[in-house]
Amino acid sequence: MQTRLKELRARDGLNQTELAKLAKVSRQTISLIEREEFVPSLLIAKRIAHIFDETIESIFIFDEEEL
């Protein structure tokens, strides 16, 4: 899975700690998602998508083989 989280954070001027607070998770979780080491649950993905006003699919991009 690839993610546009870092790019979107930069766009909206948010640091990891601020995004973590908005998404009601820890900064560590945001960092793990950004480093593409952890695939978030649907609930967290939905919260993040809502914060950036984007769709889940546009933030979390999966390869064809992964689906």
Binding site: Q16, V25, Q28, P40, I44
Partner: protein, 226 residues
């Protein structure tokens, strides 16, 4: 064919390894160096106490700063790593101080050394009760359990989010495997020591064996019943 070769190699290495181990003179034991060993263990614990005290102060100071942007993220990363280091030092201090008092009692050290070891152990226990409380300083916004609460570890796990649990799972998995392997090696060493010195370590062998059975059964029953 490859498996047979590896089995034969293992057998040869095992035979010579065991032969070499049995030829070591275990008889010397720890008694002649009990005093020095006790002093070294106390010194290690004291150094760890200094690290814990200094790091706690640094963490409290940093927590009070108002930061923004990347600096805020870096502070969080620093606090997280420091807190992990503190926990590790605290655990090591507790274990080393238990070993120190054990050495004091078993090798029949002078009363002052026994009392010092006891004091160090007491301090380690106090530190292990205080260190988890630092979490509230690092994460004031989070609803974390207090260290004095019943089922603290379970409540802390419940309070963690999915990313943190993912990291913990990786840690626990590695720990479980290392613990299993280490305890099996410990069993072998106890047997070797018993044979080498003539001092029966059967009590320790039974205890370690029991720990291995209980922990593995607990893990397997937990995943089996889900």
């Amino acid at each position: 064919m490859r498996m047979i070769i590896w089995t034969l190699v293992g057998a040869v290495v095992g035979f010579f390894g065991m032969y070499a181990a049995l030829s070591i003179d275990f008889k010397a034991g720890f008694s002649p160096i009990g005093f020095e060993l006790n002093i070294v263990l106390i010194a290690i614990t004291l150094l760890l106490f200094v690290f814990i005290a200094v790091s706690s102060t640094q963490m409290k100071k940093k927590a009070g700063l108002t930061l923004t942007g990347v600096d805020e993220d870096e502070r969080d990363m620093w606090q997280y790593k420091k807190f992990s280091d503190l926990n590790l030092c605290n655990t090591i201090a507790l274990i080393v101080s238990i070993v120190a008092i054990g050495v004091s009692i078993i090798t029949d050290q002078p009363a002052w050394l026994l009392l010092t070891s006891g004091g160090i152990l007491l301090l380690s226990i106090v530190f292990s009760m205080l260190v988890p409380g630092l979490m509230k300083t690092v994460y004031p916004d989070r609803e974390l359990p207090s260290a004095s609460e019943k089922n603290f570890a379970k409540k802390l796990l419940d309070a963690s989010d999915e990313g943190e649990r993912f990291v913990m799972l990786q840690g626990y998995y590695k720990t479980f495997n290392t613990m299993n392997l280490s305890l099996i090696i410990a069993l072998m060493l106890f047997i070797l020591y018993s044979v080498g010195t003539g001092d029966s370590q059967l009590f320790s062998i039974f205890i370690v064996g029991l720990i291995l059975i209980v922990t593995n059964a607990q893990y397997l029953l937990t995943i089996r019943n889900k």
